[in-house]
Amino acid sequence: MPEQPCGSNGVQMSRIYLDNASSMPVDFRVFEFAKPYLMASHGNPSSLHSVGLEAKQAVEESRRKIAEFIHAENENTIIFTGSATEANNLAVKGTALRNIIQGKAIIASAIEHMSVINPMKEMQKNGFSFTSLSVDSTGVVDLKKLENILTKNTVLTSIMYANNEIGTIEPISEISKIVHEKGKYLHVDAVAAAGRIPIDVQKDGIDLLTLSSNDLYGPQGAGALYVKPGVKIQSVLLGGGQERGLRSGTENVFSIVGMGEAARIAQQEMKQESSRLLPIRDKLIKEILKIDQSYLTGHPSQRLPHHASFRFSYIEGESILLNMDMYDIQVSTGSACSSKTLEPSHVLLAIGLKHEEAHGSMVITLGRSTSMNDVELVSKATNETVQRLRKLSPMSQEWRK
């Protein structure tokens, strides 16, 4: 095995990369495992000759690993897609359209990813009624309201396992019970949660579940949708009939093979890694909250072990991001100024923040390269960043008056 380039995941050593929710490096072991499928074993899994068969077997092995990772009934429940966005679109449109005779009501929480919310909004044009389910100030969905808005016409309810911007973990088992009392299917976007906390689709009572390769240290370009046996769903991408006819298009064999191996490693190392990150995360939160008028966003305890998110009064998030980058520390923000739409994050608005409060957000997501030694540097850089930007801000004095 060749030497790793530098750092434990090929990441530059001086860099402190804390934006793992946006993109993760590919695990070196994953890359080594999947590499042959870019060149030597380049077959199309649909080809019947030996080269094609080799690729097909690799895809099927990956399918088994993913099924084991989420404790699915069998490997046939796993549909590979090109991304988690595609898997979410398939889950929403595929089940809504396939079950249209049973009802035309769909529900999503207000903090879902746009790849769930936007397909749901589009289904409104096809005559569906879409209800957005509110969350409390910590980001937990309102279970009472869920009970009230569910009807026998509700064919799909989509609630994420955990939120990528505020780290809050949703009570999925409870949600499942409520959904199945009146409604039909529960879809769970597990992109942020998978690999951080254990997921068991059978125990949790999940009908459809979305996964992303890159969020498991796998290559970009692969996602998966778990479809419980018996769930009625139709394709939204038609063609040669790959993936049980549910997702046509030649498989991205390299990424799919990598995703399976990434899931296997994540499953093996999750417990150890999460308990390694938890004290680092908690120390970071403790240190950063020492800054005057800084606040944790999301749930204080019911949150992903690698996730810390904040807001700071009187300053703006894109400036925070750029300033932190000068220390070679990469973070994320839900500020309007950093988004393509120039609207603040819908997640931060949903937990009740005002526009100017949502502006000053900073999201930190730890990864395998994060160590306890980083805490001091990161909290110092954060403090200096906040102080510098506040000195520039006309808001600080005005609001303090």
Partner: protein, 128 residues
């Protein structure tokens, strides 16, 4: 290092903004804000014989909001108010070697803040 589509010059002004702060008893004060993006800028000027002798700013906003504020103070400093009032948003963006398209309207208010400050100066002068 940071790469959100900002020029080196924007980043340089963001990291080392010129003329930050407040002028006590200014001859002119301008404040503008954009409710959509949320940026707020204020500019203070000190004027002698219709010439801008000192200028300070404070800004709540993104990287380009801070950089454009800094740049506009550089452009206006030492200029006659009738010259300074001709400084446009486009001038500021050009001097910074351009801004990303989506930032052109919402975070390029610095020239407006300067114009407000000059307007305020002229109003005060008339009242004298």
């Amino acid at each position: 290092m940071a790469n959100v589509g900002y020029s080196k010059k924007v980043m340089e002004h963001f990291m080392n903004p010129r003329n930050v702060g407040v002028i006590e008893n200014p001859d002119g004060y301008g404040k503008v804000g954009n409710p959509v993006c949320g940026d707020v800028m204020e500019i203070y000027i000190k004027v002698k014989d219709d010439k801008i002798t000192d200028i300070k700013f404070r800004t709540f906003g993104c990287g380009s909001a801070i950089a454009t504020s800094s740049m506009v103070t550089e452009l206006a400093k030492g200029k006659h108010v009738d010259e300074a009032v001709k400084i446009t948003r486009a001038d500021v963006a050009n001097e910074l070697d351009g801004l990303p398209a989506q930032k052109m309207h919402c975070s390029n208010l610095a020239a407006d803040a300067l114009h407000e400050a000059i307007k305020d100066y002229k109003n005060r002068k008339q009242k004298k």
